[in-house]
Amino acid sequence: MSFLLGHFNYLIVVFLMMGGLWITFSSRNYIKRMIGLALFQTSVGLFYISLGKVAGGTAAIVLDKTSKAGEALNAHLSPDYVARAGVDGVVYSNPLPHVLILTAIVVGVATLAVGLAIAVRVREAYGTVEAGEIAELDRTEAGPRA
């Protein structure tokens, strides 16, 4: 039971990742494929953030342990645990995955926009964004319009 509790996040991450992969693989529509890729990408973010979580921790913004917030945070943690897991008497979650994923999200939307822009140009050239119909147009030598 406690093993499942500790690994539930990873199972969901795998499910979300495979969901994104499934959408990307099985769809014939380019826009739907881009949505699948975006979901796939967010699942990687969820994985990194899950790894960086420290139980009983707080956001990585330096806090004085004698302040009101610091005392409230430490009230339900054993002093032994705080000494082992904390820095200067306060337990923080790992900030490094946060940094990596923060920038990845913004880069993700920029690259998603490039993918969608290509889909728009494909639609203007072929009149469709369905992979099957585009292959059909190429085969019948109708080809792209522009």
Binding site: L5, S26, S50, K53, I61, V62, I118, V120
Partner: protein
């Protein structure tokens, strides 16, 4: 090393509930054939994951996900289906067999690998004890910013962030090359101006509320920008929030009105200038004898002579890190905000070109 079991506390219960919602949404996105539904569901997905990120103590990331995932990327995706189509074709069941096999096998292997991972929240997990812990211990002394995410993002790993800013700039450039800068909207026959809209009483509620919201969103963007050292926030989040304010203006008052106040030329110029500013700060450090993007050397040695010890950190002026981070965050802000606006202009400006051929 003491063994660790994830406690069943309120945090874990909320975590499980939110992740279960995400799983349900992914299934719904996979099943729907309407792209509009899929995009709105993805927006909901982003919003729920933003809440989940707060539970995971990732306040900065949550911020970014809320504005980017639920805001900008939804608008861009909606613009894309406006220019393409909003339904996708039915997939014959035979063609789903191979993807299903691949997904099942890959998923099985990943689950097998995931069983070896440390439990959620383990403080002695390898990811949490080496460099992440070092940053927590030293960031406030080295950099002087309470928000360690900002310290790592803009100082320790400043080179990394420069690369990411450049990627965003390059992506904006790519979209502009593919779709143009939205200049077709300006050539189009003029739409009703704001004065005419006011006379005819169109969209009164929308216009009044947008006029109240836009200044507040902009001020909030600046707050997030300059408060990024102390609390959650920074150039990435502030840039996207600023872009949202501009996009809201365009959605309510029309693209041409917005393009008059913020011309596409200005947006693309600032997009490049942001990267230049970021890299320029690095070069200033080089000329003062430091390493690239080592803000301890932002000011020449001559300013540091004769200062009392209380003004120095590691033999360097304490302001170097402060002003260095301020400058590069401004560069990130300019690039992110103007790239998002450029991308929006490119998609929205293409709309008048909705060609008669195809099913438009």
């Amino acid at each position: 090393m003491p063994s660790f079991a994830t406690p069943l506390d309120a945090n874990t219960i909320v975590d499980i509930a939110l992740l279960a919602m995400l799983a349900v949404i992914v299934v719904a996105v996979a099943r729907t054939r309407s792209l509009l539904t899929a995009i709105i569901l993805t927006s909901v997905y982003s919003f729920i994951s933003a809440v989940w990120l707060v539970v995971m103590d990732a306040a900065d990331v949550s911020f970014t996900e809320a504005v980017v995932g639920a805001g900008v990327s939804t608008i861009i995706a909606l613009g894309a289906i406006l220019l393409t189509r909003s339904e996708c074709s039915r997939i014959p069941w035979r063609e789903t067999l191979l993807p299903l096999l691949l997904v099942t096998v890959t998923g099985g292997l990943l689950v097998y690998a995931a069983l070896d991972l440390p439990s959620l929240g383990d403080p002695s997990a390898p990811a949490n004890i080496y460099v992440g812990r070092l940053y927590l211990q030293h960031a406030e002394h080295d950099i002087g910013t309470p928000n360690i995410v900002t310290a790592v993002l803009s100082s320790y790993r400043g080179f990394d962030t420069l690369g990411e800013t450049t990627v965003i700039f390059a992506a904006g450039l790519g979209v502009a090359l593919l779709l143009g800068f939205g200049e077709r909207a300006l050539q189009d026959t003029p739409r009703p101006s704001m004065a005419k809209m006011a006379e005819s009483g169109q969209h009164v509620v929308l216009r009044v509320s947008a006029k109240m919201l836009i200044p507040m969103i902009s001020i909030y963007a600046f707050y997030v920008q300059f408060h990024g050292d102390l609390g959650p926030g920074g150039g990435f989040q502030a840039g996207v929030i600023m872009a949202v304010a501009i996009i809201l203006h365009a959605l309510v008052f029309g693209l041409q009105e917005t393009m008059e106040s913020i011309p596409p030329q200005l947006a693309r110029g600032l997009s490049a200038f942001g990267v230049l500013l970021y890299a320029g700060v690095g070069v200033v450090n080089l000329t003062n004898g430091g390493n690239f993007l080592d803000y301890d050397h932002l000011f020449p040695r001559i300013f540091e002579e004769g200062l009392p010890d209380s003004h120095l950190v590691g033999g360097h002026h304490i302001w170097g890190q402060h002003f260095g981070i301020l400058a590069i965050e401004l560069g990130v802000f300019l690039t992110v905000a103007s790239t998002m606006v450029t991308i929006f202009y490119a998609f929205a400006g293409r709309a008048p070109d909705l060609s008669p051929h195809g099913e438009g």
